[in-house]
């Protein structure tokens, strides 16, 4: 009896251990699949950033095979995560990752993803490639069913979400930002060498940024804190466009106005007076207007591409608003085009944040422009906040936090929503938690030793 009992108990304990291992493995698989899917959406397939997640996922699949599982079916139905129909008990991070997978599954019109434990790396990469195409809407989810080692269990008709389900808008916004920098850098390089370029490229970048600003304004503001990568000019112009866009959005103007502002910001560098004007690129008649005026420069540089006259006038207005060129000579309106004036502020702020912390940059901007542009300066402050997104701040309580949201009202101007980093944790609206005290100072993000963008991106 006792032996039998002992045997049953051991068996039960062994089953429990297997369940426990499976549960742990299930959470691990959720997290690893999340990282792999996220990186698949973020990076090109040949990027090194994908190598490690691929190896990790394959390792987990092998482990599942060693546990005797003939298949690995990760399911996401509502809030529930399952492995081979067994419910998982995820921690909060795993739960959040599972929610990401849930949105991905709905895009794939599936409720479960079944993977072969013996899946090869080639097969997995083929799956990733197809996943990328489907997630971006460039292919039908049905294409995934043709892959080896992978099977999708479709959603019921009632749960069907459609292909337009957004998986994670932040990922798309980040890609938009990075792509915009690259495209703008390329266009500017072509323009600088007098080569032909398509003006619609910049217009499309403006449109993409306008869409991104409508979906994730805080993230866009936070991305201004990213260090300059590769193209200083590209980053500057995109930053400038983002700031102009968000200011226009704050004015509740139509999104077309925002895109127009972004376009002006992206193009305004083309009107920068250039020594080319002296080398016979432009006819003497234009030189007579003003040898170094922005219009001459714009005409010279736009020869390789082409901006319409209205846009050129607005671009020139940026320089007029900044006190350069000849005020009112080329722009249609007096004392200057509104979008051009907003862009001029964004331009200056974008320059300042290259060298100083964002809150210092804002102070410097106000010192420089408050007298000339009191209303627009107020608009600018209301848009980015006294502590722009990404600022690392120290609170009266001694806690350190990262500002993660632009102000939604007057109270949040000086007491924004922050993510506590030291001396606490979690997302906190300082305007509603007086016990944490006010912000006493800002810190250099480098002192934090962490990538602040990470706090409001992922």
């Amino acid at each position: 009896m006792s032996k039998r009992s002992r045997g049953s108990l051991d068996d039960l304990m062994a089953v429990d251990r297997d369940h426990e291992r499976l549960g742990r493995l299930g959470c691990e698989l959720v997290n690893r699949l999340f990282v792999l899917a996220r990186n698949t959406l973020l990076f090109d397939l040949n990027n090194e950033a994908l190598s490690h997640p691929v190896a990790q996922l394959l390792s987990s699949l092998r482990e599942a095979g060693q546990l005797g599982e003939s298949r690995v079916a990760l399911g996401v139905v509502g809030d529930n995560l399952s492995l081979n129909q067994a419910l998982l008990k995820p921690d909060s991070a795993t739960y959040n990752n599972g929610q990401f997978l849930g949105r991905l599954y709905r895009r794939l019109q599936a409720q479960e993803l079944e993977l072969d434990p013996g899946l090869s790396e080639e097969e997995l990469r083929a799956f990733m490639s197809a996943l990328r195409q489907v997630a971006e809407g460039k292919a039908d989810p049905a294409t995934l069913s043709e892959l080896r080692g992978v099977r999708l269990v479709p959603l019921s008709d009632a749960d069907a979400g459609g292909q337009s389900v957004e998986i994670d808008s932040r990922i798309q916004v980040l890609r938009t930002y990075a792509g915009s920098v690259a495209v703008v850098a390329r266009v500017m390089a072509l323009a600088a060498h007098g080569q032909r370029w398509s003006p619609s490229l910049l217009r499309r970048v403006g449109h993409d940024l306008a869409d991104a600003a409508a979906r994730e304004p805080d993230l866009l503001l936070g991305l201004l804190q990213l260090p300059v990568e590769g193209s200083r000019l590209g980053v500057h112009l995109v930053r400038c466009a983002i700031l102009a866009l968000l200011c226009v959005a704050r004015l509740a103007l139509p999104r077309r106005a925002g895109a127009e502002a972004a376009l002006i910001a992206l193009c305004h560098h083309l009107a920068r007076p250039d020594e080319r004007a002296f080398r016979g690129t432009v006819p003497d008649t234009n030189l007579a207007v003003g040898e170094t005026d922005p219009l001459t420069a714009a005409l010279a540089l736009c020869g390789g591409g082409g901006l319409n006259e209205g846009l050129i006038r607005r671009v020139v207005g940026v320089y007029e608003a900044a006190g350069q060129g000849r005020p009112g000579l080329y722009s249609n309106e007096q004392p200057g085009d509104l979008l051009g004036r907003i862009t001029a502020l964004g331009d200056r702020f974008a320059m300042l944040i290259e060298t100083v912390r964002p809150d210092e940059a804002l102070r410097l901007l106000l010192v420089e422009r408050q007298l000339d542009e009191p209303v627009l300066c107020r608009l600018f402050v209301n848009t980015v906040g006294l502590y722009p997104v990404g600022s690392v701040v120290e609170l009266e309580s001694g806690a350190t936090a990262v500002v993660v949201r632009a102000p939604r009202g007057r109270q949040q101007l000086s007491r924004p929503v922050v993510q506590l980093v030291r001396g606490g944790s979690g997302l906190v609206d300082l305007s509603r938690t007086p016990e944490l005290g006010a912000i006493v100072s800002t810190l250099d993000p480098a002192e934090l030793g962490e990538n602040v963008v990470h706090y409001f991106l992922l």
Binding site: G162, L174, P227, G234, R256
Partner: protein
């Protein structure tokens, strides 16, 4: 069964779409024939819209693949264009549209806008900067999604060209998703700066042009952050061409884009500061020289940049480097300072003044720089800083021209007596009219020490004004109030430089040193005896010996006469040995005037001592100072202890006491009781000067009256 149902549903959707796009084709063709407001065109558009709305209502989310010449729903083709035409499908595909998605909620107006967008002729000039993607976006189609190929992967034929930009995009994403900051990632991103430096450092035009794409040549402000980073760059890019190219770009930016002057000059300042911080003076020297070359070519931008090099803070840094360097080796800092604009002389002088080790070298350079415009240094003479005033004085004297010496005038009103004395001593060998005027003006100086120094200098040059001045002091009673030492000094000078008339006055005074005279009169008469000794004329020996033996004479007068007689007998106080012979002195002064530079070379800035004193102007133990006037620099109480009555005090204390006493210009601490004798002498002297005929009645003693009368009646010598 499920697949059959799906296939059936897909087939139904495809059929509906096929019909809808047929109507759309008609609507588009009608717009090419009719005006948009024409009823036929409107009718076609309305029918098209109804079909599309019906699809979304029946099928929900509907996806359409856009191919080069056709549209497909799944695998089923639903619309095909004429292969010979470039219709809306071709244009969409060409511009990157790959899929369309019709969402539930699509309205007729949206379809109308979609048709209008697809119909737009992109060849028209006003659409020059549009394509199908931008047109669809601007159509505000809330319920139509369109999937577009990536801008950087759109053209396979450009794949190689686009690769750097795709890498750039990946780097940005990686930077954003990294949990830790990339190592070394800073706001002023070193990587891009390095890249720029590489580009700027390469002088090969082709390679430069190729790398400038990513280095952002000509971007908004690519240089602003580079200055502080040059230190870090130096280790990796020690190529001087980098710096030269960098400066050239800055210069050209400034010359060609003057409205960005502030930013460019700011960047240049950062560069200069970085070079100075890292001690790269030679590099900075090259920078300034190259700017000089630019300036010859293109204008004054180089001048503006050079001015920035010599701003106050930068000059201070240069001088610190100079002071820290090896004094035995020629320093590039001095070469650099020689390139400074003359307008910066004042600032450089102010910065160099506290650095005593280097100020002499700097003074020589400043003298060269300001040789044509010495007035640039004149404001420094008004400084409250003693060192700065001294250095400015040094510079002006080194220049030595009449214009430079004329700039010294304001210094005679300097609030510090020591500075005024310094002026006199540094110019004591000069015979310039301007300097002489300054000396004479300083005879009226409120400070006795300054006046004494001025007198000494005038004596050195045998200035006729001196004798008049001494006599005036005797006459106006001011000397009467002074100490015996001062009286003795004045009389000694009269004896040395006065003519027969003044000698005769001294003799008369000696003979009136009666016992009954007041103390001040006695002192004056005793001083006159010393004045006679200064004449070096043994003819006075008899008078002095007689006076020394007369019992009616005051004891002090008799002692003075004995001492003076002894001096004459031994020839100790020969006029020729007291000071250089005046004719010789005048000749030397003339030589100085002929060549100011030689005179300048004779200056001893560190401690310009007065020339050998004109006589034992002070008694040991009274002044105690080495220069005979009790003047010592503040804090330099290094003179030997005084003997006699003040032996217990240090010579420094005595000197200070005396200096304070003289500066106050108060009466000497002698008896203050007035007596007729003193007044009589005063009046005698007054009348001697004013040539009055009658002395004031009832105030003069007979002896003085006689003296006065006789003296006045005599002809002028």
């Amino acid at each position: 069964m499920g697949e059959t149902l799906d296939e059936g549903r897909a087939g139904a959707a495809a059929a509906l779409l096929e019909e809808a796009f047929r109507w759309m084709d008609k609507a588009l063709r009608s717009l090419s024939i009719y005006d948009a407001g024409h009823q036929v065109a409107r009718a076609f558009r309305t029918s098209t819209g109804q079909h599309f709305v019906e699809i979304t209502e029946q099928e929900g989310e509907t996806w359409i693949d856009v191919r080069a010449k056709s549209l497909c729903c799944g695998e089923q083709e639903i619309y095909r264009e004429d292969p010979k035409s470039e219709g809306f499908v071709f244009r969409m595909h060409r511009d990157g549209v790959r899929r369309l998605c019709l969402l539930p909620g699509l309205s007729l107006s949206e379809v109308e806008r979609l048709v209008a967008a697809l119909q737009t002729d992109l060849e028209r000039p006003e659409q020059f900067d549009n394509d199908m993607v931008t047109l669809l976006w601007e159509a505000e189609l809330e319920h139509v999604r369109f999937i577009v190929a990536d801008l950087l992967t759109q053209a396979p034929e450009q794949a190689e060209d686009l690769r750097p930009y795709q890498d750039l995009m990946n780097r940005i994403i990686a930077a954003a998703t990294a949990e830790q900051l990339p190592e070394g990632a800073r706001r002023r991103d070193l990587a891009s700066i390095r890249l720029s430096a590489q580009a700027f450092g390469d002088l090969d035009p082709e390679q430069l042009a190729a790398t400038l794409d990513v280095a952002d040549e000509g971007s908004v402000d690519p240089f602003g952050a580079m200055g502080p980073e040059l230190d870090a760059l130096r280790a990796e890019y020690d190529d001087p061409r980098t710096l030269a190219r960098f400066v050239e770009i800055l210069y050209r930016s400034l010359a060609l884009v003057p409205e960005r002057a502030q930013g460019v000059l700011g960047s240049f300042e950062l560069l200069v500061q970085a070079l100075l911080r890292s001690g790269r003076v030679e590099d900075l020297l090259e920078v300034v020289r190259s700017l000089g070359a630019f300036g010859q070519e293109l204008g004054d931008a180089a001048g503006r940049m050079v001015e920035r090099v010599f701003l106050g803070a930068n000059v201070s840094a240069m001088l610190r480097l100079l002071a820290q360097g090896d004094a035995a080796q020629p320093s590039p800092v001095l070469d650099l300072l020689r390139l400074a604009p003359a307008e910066r002389c004042g600032e450089i002088l102010a910065a160099a003044a506290p650095l005593t080790d280097v100020s002499r070298d700097v003074a020589e350079i400043l003298a060269e720089l300001a040789a044509d415009r010495p007035a640039l240094v004149a404001p420094n003479l008004e400084s409250r800083e003693q060192a700065e005033v001294q250095l400015a004085l040094d510079v002006l004297l080194t220049i030595g021209t009449e214009e430079a010496l004329d700039c010294l005038r304001p210094l005679r009103q300097h609030p510090q007596p020591d500075m005024r004395i310094w002026l006199l001593r540094l110019t004591q060998d000069l015979r310039s009219p301007a300097v002489a005027a300054v000396r004479r003006a300083m005879l009226e100086d409120p400070s006795a020490r300054v006046r004494a120094e001025a007198e000494r200098c005038l004596a050195r040059h045998a200035d006729p004004e001196l004798v008049k001045r001494l006599l005036r002091r005797l006459a106006d009673g001011s000397l009467k109030e002074q100490s015996f030492a001062e009286k003795r000094r004045v009389c000694t000078m009269l004896g040395s430089f006065g003519g027969p008339r003044e000698v005769r006055l001294l003799k008369e005074l000696v003979q009136r040193g009666r016992v009954l005279g007041g103390r001040r009169q006695v002192e004056l008469c005793a001083a006159a005896a010393h004045g006679l000794a200064a004449t070096d004329d043994r003819a006075h020996l008899e008078l002095l010996e007689q006076t020394a033996g007369r019992r009616l004479m005051a004891r002090q007068v008799r002692e003075a006469c004995r001492e003076a007689a002894e001096v004459l007998r031994q020839g100790r106080r020969s006029r020729s040995s007291q000071v250089r012979p005046i004719p010789e002195l005048v000749r030397q002064a003339g030589a100085l005037d002929e060549d100011p530079a030689d005179g300048a070379a004779a200056m001893q800035r560190a401690a310009p001592a007065p020339v050998e004193d004109v006589g034992p102007a002070v008694e040991d133990g009274v002044f105690g100072g080495s220069d005979g006037y009790g003047f010592v620099d503040i804090g330099q109480a290094t003179d030997p202890p005084a003997a006699g009555a003040t032996a217990s005090r240090s010579s420094g204390e005595v000197a200070q006491l005396l200096r304070a006493y003289l500066d106050r210009d108060e009466p000497s601490p002698g008896p203050t009781t007035e007596d007729g004798g003193e007044d009589a002498v005063a009046e005698l002297l007054q009348r001697y000067l004013e040539d009055t005929d009658e002395p004031p009645a009832g105030t003069a003693r007979p002896e003085v009256d006689d003296l006065l009368r006789r003296y006045v009646e005599e002809d002028e010598p």
